[in-house]
């Protein structure tokens, strides 16, 4: 594994993890978002290690505002992330893409896979619901509509993530795109979705299964 870098369209210098080298094909891995991103980071990286063992090189860029990025998350929105994903693919020389969960919403126009894709609106709904539950415990009644309305004045902090008004509005409308990506279902991977876990946990068998599916498609 090597650390490399790329420059986002907004000018920020971002990191990327590079696994494997050689070969004519290289996979761009777009990680899951927000809370799911934390829960799936381990299995995502182990999938890339497993791909390297199978002879497939892959790249995991930080999106602006995520992970080690110094760019402010609340200045990002869906179009800026889409542009960032396209630019990361170009600069990192990727020919294929693996979009994990909600990252399917910003996948560049490359062949590849979507692991249990999640519409942006569903990702937002889960975070709004978490906020409503937390507020209710604190004695405040809130609704999804009320939170979305409040967001227009300056964004929202949801599940600890400061999202800008544009991001919240974009997510609220985001259906799953009709992409050319092949959906990988959890039934194909085996075992429960690790994004569901209350505590982040790893399952090596899931990483190996996902890597085998991708390698079989890429190296066929």
């Amino acid at each position: 594994m090597k650390l490399t870098g790329w420059t986002a369209p907004g000018g920020s210098e971002e990191l990327a993890l590079a696994f494997g080298d050689g070969g004519t094909q290289r996979l761009l891995v777009l990680p899951a978002w927000f809370d799911e991103g934390n829960k799936l980071r381990h299995v995502t990286i182990e999938t890339m290690r497993a791909l390297e063992r199978l002879g497939v090189a892959s790249m995991l860029p930080d999106l602006p505002g995520c992970n080690e990025s110094l760019a402010p998350l609340d200045k990002q929105d869906l179009p800026s992330w889409r542009a960032a994903a396209v630019e990361a693919a170009r600069q990192l020389g990727c020919t294929h893409v693996l979009a994990v969960r909600a990252a399917t919403n910003i996948a560049p126009d490359l062949p590849g896979w979507a692991w249990v894709p999640l519409a942006g609106k569903s990702a937002l709904r889960a975070m709004l619901r978490a906020q409503i539950i937390a507020s209710k415990e604190a004695g405040n009644a809130e609704t999804s509509d009320g939170l979305c309305e409040r967001s227009k004045a300056g964004g929202l902090v949801l599940a600890g993530y400061r999202l800008g008004a544009e991001m919240v509005a974009g997510l609220a409308e985001a259906e799953l795109p009709h992409s050319a990506l092949t959906s990988v279902t959890q039934a194909e991977i085996g075992g429960p979705g690790l994004w569901l876990r209350a505590e982040p946990e790893h399952d090596q068998a899931q990483a190996e299964a996902l890597a085998r599916i991708i390698a079989a498609g890429l190296l066929a």
Binding site: S122, I133, L196, A198
Partner: protein
């Protein structure tokens, strides 16, 4: 007449099994551990790992697997506090649907 009663019971039984399955996946517990949950087993507020984000995921998964829609204003601490309360809520939603 007699054949509708067992059908309803089997639907309740199925819903309970599915709910236990969702809890096993969220809590990372074995099916045996979750099979031992009874009506008084504490959930939200009793299990530190079951935070608001995990509960939100739990509810979304319940919606998907049990084909129900849970409204914002139906979600409260009481309905999430014990396995019995959550099961009663889910069965009532299924009966409505």
């Amino acid at each position: 007449m007699t054949d509708t009663v067992p059908a309803m019971h089997s639907d309740q039984f199925e819903a309970e099994l599915i709910l236990r399955g969702v809890l096993a996946d969220v809590l990372g517990l074995s099916p045996e551990r979750v099979a031992a949950f009874d009506a008084d087993t504490g959930l939200f507020g009793h299990l530190p790992e079951l935070d608001s984000m995990a509960v939100a995921g739990l509810l979304t998964e319940i919606e998907d697997r049990l084909d129900v829609l849970i409204e914002d204003d139906e979600v409260d601490g009481d309905m999430l506090e014990t396995f019995g309360a959550l099961l009663a809520f889910v069965l009532a939603k299924r009966a409505d649907g």
